[in-house]
């Protein structure tokens, strides 16, 4: 494969990719379908922002957010059924069961672990130890500014954590298993080794004091922007949306079988962070995965970082031992 030059890089020499918005297929079908799949994303974002902004305090609660989150995901699974981006990504029973296992782990075991050693716990301990107050001035900002800052600061941290995972072997090991997925759908964001899911969830949000409603609004940014990273739906996302936000197109390129393409589009929600640091590539891919699309079982996903890490340590030890042999 020849590949395509994007800046200083050649993309697509190892796996098929499409680069450039003009080369990406559009939604097929009548005017109603075109309209729905063009405006669904912005409509959902603004509708949910308005809901959380104006909902009375009795409704603006975390439990409501959980129900809305589940309902929204179910709706997106429905959209995947109606208008899939690729037939080869169609959800099967086995993939759904596998994905839900990881979603279940996130909601149960990971939460339990986060309650003991998560970043909020660590920050709370540091604050108590040094007698630091939270940044209380934060609560004086307009709600939407607070919400955007919460999500932006988290995404900025996530960008660098994710970029680190693709550039430093010890971090790549737990993240690599997520790259063995060969399809995208709304639940695929949860698929990965628990160590990686723990690492990617780290943030410095605990340093800030904010109005609870702002946290719910921040969650909405995640729900109505970040969720599209892994979705199998063909959208005609508006140009401004694609410029600002990470889309399934961007993220499929990140998951492609082409090594150079995977080293792009690291942010979770705000693709402009990638644009700021020169790692954004606008395009998409259908063939995903590592090792020519080998599917990794749950068992291997759980053990892979440790077995590969152990191999690397032993190899490193052997090499050191060999080079350390005195030349007699």
């Amino acid at each position: 494969m020849n590949g395509i030059r994007v800046g200083n890089r050649i993309i697509g020499t190892q796996g098929p990719v499409t680069v450039g918005w003009d080369n990406i297929p559009k939604v097929q079908g009548g005017p109603v379908k075109q309209f729905v799949f063009t405006w669904f994303q912005p409509a959902a974002l603004f509708a949910l922002l308005a809901f959380w902004y104006y909902a009375p305090n009795s409704i603006a609660k975390t439990s409501t957010a959980i129900y809305i989150g589940i309902g929204f995901k179910a709706l997106l699974l429905g959209l995947e059924w109606v208008n899939p981006r690729y037939e080869s990504w169609r959800l099967t029973w086995k993939e759904l069961a596998t994905d839900l296992f990881y979603v279940g782990l996130s909601y149960t075991l990971l939460r339990l672990v986060d309650g003991y050693i998560g970043s909020d716990v660590a920050i709370e301990a540091i604050r108590t130890h040094f007698h630091w107050d939270k940044f209380a001035w934060f609560t004086g900002l307009p709600l939407l500014v607070q919400a955007f800052l919460i999500s932006f600061i988290f995404d900025f941290g996530q960008y660098w954590m994710h970029r680190g995972m693709h550039n430093w072997y010890p971090l790549w090991l737990p993240h690599s298993v997520h790259h063995y997925i060969t399809q995208l759908n709304v639940n695929k964001g949860a698929v990965g080794n628990p160590v990686e899911l723990f690492l990617i969830g780290l943030g410095i949000g605990g340093l800030f004091d904010f109005v609870p409603r702002a946290a719910l609004l921040a969650g909405t940014f995640g729900l109505t922007i970040g969720i599209y990273q892994h979705i199998n739906v063909r959208f005609n996302s508006p140009r401004w949306w694609r410029f600002l936000f990470n889309t399934t197109e961007h993220h499929s390129l990140h998951h492609s079988q082409d090594y150079e393409a995977t080293r792009s589009n690291y942010s979770g929600a705000y693709i402009f962070i990638d644009r700021m640091f020169g790692t954004c590539i606008d395009g998409e891919a259908e063939l995903l995965g590592l090792e020519n699309g080998r599917r990794m079982s749950i068992r291997e996903q759980m053990t892979h970082p440790f077995t590969e890490g152990w191999k690397a340590i032993r190899q490193g030890y052997r090499q050191t031992a060999q080079t350390a042999l005195p030349a007699e």
């Binding site: 902004y53 104006y54 909902a55 009375p56 305090n57 603006a60 080869s88 099967t92 029973w93 086995k94 993939e95 759904l96 069961a97 596998t98 839900l100 296992f101 279940g104 909601y107 149960t108 075991l109 939460r111 339990l112 309650g115 909020d120 716990v121 709370e124 107050d133 209380a136 609560t139 004086g140 900002l141 307009p142 709600l143 060969t182 399809q183 605990g206 004091d209 109005v211 609870p212 409603r213 020519n292 699309g293 080998r294 599917r295 990794m296 079982s297 749950i298």
Partner: protein, 205 residues
């Protein structure tokens, strides 16, 4: 223990009438594309096809199965294809509710360990310093103008932020239920789907 009585949990079996006048080899040839997939190996004898799958792709039409035997035999209605397929995915899905119930129990157990210090702190009387959070946070004028509801004074129970969050086993129980339902759906659905796949292949559809 005789596994025969519980094998139905992860074994899918069935039989399909073969089109009349077709040889065994022709029937297996029609089914061959299903086994010509990455990670799949198969062996054929004149009347039996045995296959194994490893790391099968999500896109594989038989991805839910890890191995099995297809045999052509004489049945009551003429020659039939008998199949018996093994699915670890179905087995693990059957067992998954137990795993999530165990996590629920673990959550409860850990919460019990957590309780005494919390109760002790409560009974120890007043907290060390009055929490600044109790003060009502004023809404930004922009939000006031736009009509957003003002935040309520935080309840005493909520004070202490995320640290005081009680771990609840509810999510684990919900997932146990989801996997129980998913198993029933999968056991019925995959049985029907594979039947359709075999039938279509045999009829050359």
């Amino acid at each position: 223990m005789n596994l025969r009585y519980i094998e139905w949990i992860w074994h899918v079996s069935g039989r399909l009438a073969l089109p009349p006048g077709e040889s065994n080899a022709q029937a297996f040839d029609r089914l061959a594309p299903l086994f010509d997939q990455p990670g799949t190996t198969h062996q054929r004898t004149p009347d039996t096809l045995t296959f194994q799958k490893k790391n099968q792709a999500a896109q594989d039409k038989m991805s839910v199965f890890d191995g099995g035997v297809l045999q052509i035999a004489h049945g009551m209605a003429g020659r039939e294809l008998h199949y018996r397929l093994i699915s670890r995915a179905l087995l693990y899905c059957f067992l998954a509710p137990l795993f999530f119930l165990a996590i629920g129990q673990l959550t409860i157990t850990l919460a019990k360990f957590e309780k005494p210090p919390a109760d002790a702190a409560k009974s120890a009387g007043k907290p060390k310093t009055p929490d600044k959070k109790d003060a009502l946070v004023p809404l930004n004028p922009v939000d006031k103008f736009l009509g957003a509801p003002a935040p309520e004074k935080p309840k005493k129970d909520d004070a202490g932020g995320g640290h005081g969050k009680k771990a609840s086993p509810t999510a684990a129980y919900v997932f146990a239920g989801i996997f129980a339902a998913l198993y029933v759906i999968g056991r019925v659905l995959e049985d029907r789907l594979i039947r359709t796949v075999f039938r279509k292949a045999l009829l050359g559809g």
